[in-house]
Amino acid sequence: MRDGINTARLGIPAVSLVTEDFWPQGNFVAQALGMPAFPRVQLPHPLAGTGSAHLRSVAESMVAAIIGGLKND
């Protein structure tokens, strides 16, 4: 979340990817950094170590939401 906000502050469109377990922390950081409505997309948790096939499947299912976030839909 912090990286996404810092990237956006440089003028680069950004959306943060936050896994389910870290969603509350993402909300906290967004609030603390003064951008509570910063676009983010929720990913399942866990992701790490779940295998390349699962990672690809998650990535494919999230593409539309990520593009939507970048376009601020």
């Binding site: 377990d21 948790h45 866990p46 790490a48 170590g49 779940t50 295998g51 390349s52 699962h54």
Partner: protein, 359 residues
């Protein structure tokens, strides 16, 4: 009859308690007779009932003294079944409390809570940061036991508690198993208790050591690598478990690591058996690091744990890369065994006027 201390006000009372060495160094709730009485009442027992003798000072652990420590620690009446269960556990001769309090090793009573009392007597946290700050029941219950060990057991650093450095868990060290999300049977049911029992298990344990493992579902050796790093953490050659051997230890799996093990068909018994096997070492290895301790071993290999069941295994914490292991002291007449006690949740009374008292 306990002699009452007199002070002008609560600030003066706090300074008196600090001065008398009755605190853990942090501010305490002043144990006024009314506050102590409320927690005694919550136990459903008589204040003068002696639960046992607490070493090394051989103080009589009465319900009243335990309640006094619990008040000082900030406990609520609801916490008392767990406090009493923990006190009863360390008073069991198998626990070797007097020896544990006196050792130079860094050991503290780790309180593990199972069963419905995790909710009704707390809640005792079992998720993110369960061993850290911010969880009142975990903080207060563990602290109550420590204050008993100080004020009833007489443990004072450098005088009767000879821990060279100690560790932060000596302030408080308490968590629950995350039974609702664990893929394994609740720990207490595999220790012989019923699922509906509230059980407090206490073991003298080192501070938690992190075990990092980044799972890889594409790696056929994934589960074996996880077991290997857990075993290294449990009993590497710098631990008492690998040198003195014969004691217990704790593994707290995070949900991701628990899932890897479960998805590979391992239940708790299979996991602890594998960890027990992975901590069989060549005696030559012990001879290299600790020749004196190796001299007692006549075989070519030795085992760090006498049996798989000496390893307590539970799931708690947030989901991520890190599990925790807690090696132990492995000394005392009973080699630092864990002790489990059923908490008498049924005996506990509602405390009349509690809200007014706390106000």
């Amino acid at each position: 009859m306990t002699e009452l201390m007199q002070a002008m006000d609560e600030s003066a009372a706090l300074e008196m308690l600090h001065e008398a060495g009755c605190t853990d160094g942090l501010p305490v709730v002043i144990p006024t007779p009314e506050r102590v009485e409320a927690l005694v009442l919550a136990t459903g027992l008589d204040a003068d009932l002696q639960l046992g003798t607490m070493g090394p000072g051989n103080g009589a652990a009465t319900v009243g003294k335990v309640a006094t420590a619990a008040v000082m620690a900030g406990c609520l009446p609801d916490h008392m079944p767990i406090v009493m269960g923990a006190v009863n556990a360390v008073l069991d001769p198998l626990f070797d409390l007097a020896e544990m309090q006196s050792t130079t090793h860094c050991t503290a009573p780790l309180i593990l809570v199972n069963g419905p009392g995790r909710h009704s007597c707390g809640p005792v946290a079992s998720g993110f940061g369960a061993l850290g700050p911010g969880h009142r029941a975990n903080a207060s219950i563990g602290r109550a036991l420590r204050l008993c060990m100080i004020n009833i057991g007489g443990a004072r650093p450098g005088e009767s508690d000879m821990a060279l450095l100690g560790h932060p868990g000596k302030f408080t060290y308490c968590l629950a198993e995350d039974e609702e999300h664990s893929p394994f049977a609740p720990m207490h049911t595999e220790l012989g208790f019923a699922p509906d029992d509230t059980v407090v298990t206490v073991i003298g344990a080192e501070a938690p050591h992190s075990v990092m493992y980044n799972g890889d579902a594409d790696d056929p050796e994934d589960v074996n690598k996880l077991l290997e790093v857990l075993a290294i953490g449990l009993a590497n050659m710098a631990t008492n478990n690998a040198v003195l051997t014969g004691g217990g230890a704790v593994v707290v799996l995070n949900p991701e690591h628990a899932k890897i093990l479960h998805d590979n068909g391992l239940d708790r018994q299979a996991i602890i058996t594998r960890l027990w096997q992975l901590t069989h070492y060549p005696t030559e290895q012990l001879s290299y690091f600790s020749a004196n301790f190796a001299a007692r071993i006549k075989s070519d290999t030795y085992q760090c744990f006498t049996k798989p069941e000496d390893i307590l295994l539970l799931m708690a914490g947030g989901s991520g890369l890190y599990s925790m292991v807690m090696p132990s002291w492995c000394a005392g007449a009973n080699r630092n065994q864990y002790v489990s006690k059923k908490a008498d949740v049924e005996q506990f009374c509602e405390v009349p006027g509690l809200v007014a008292l706390l106000d």
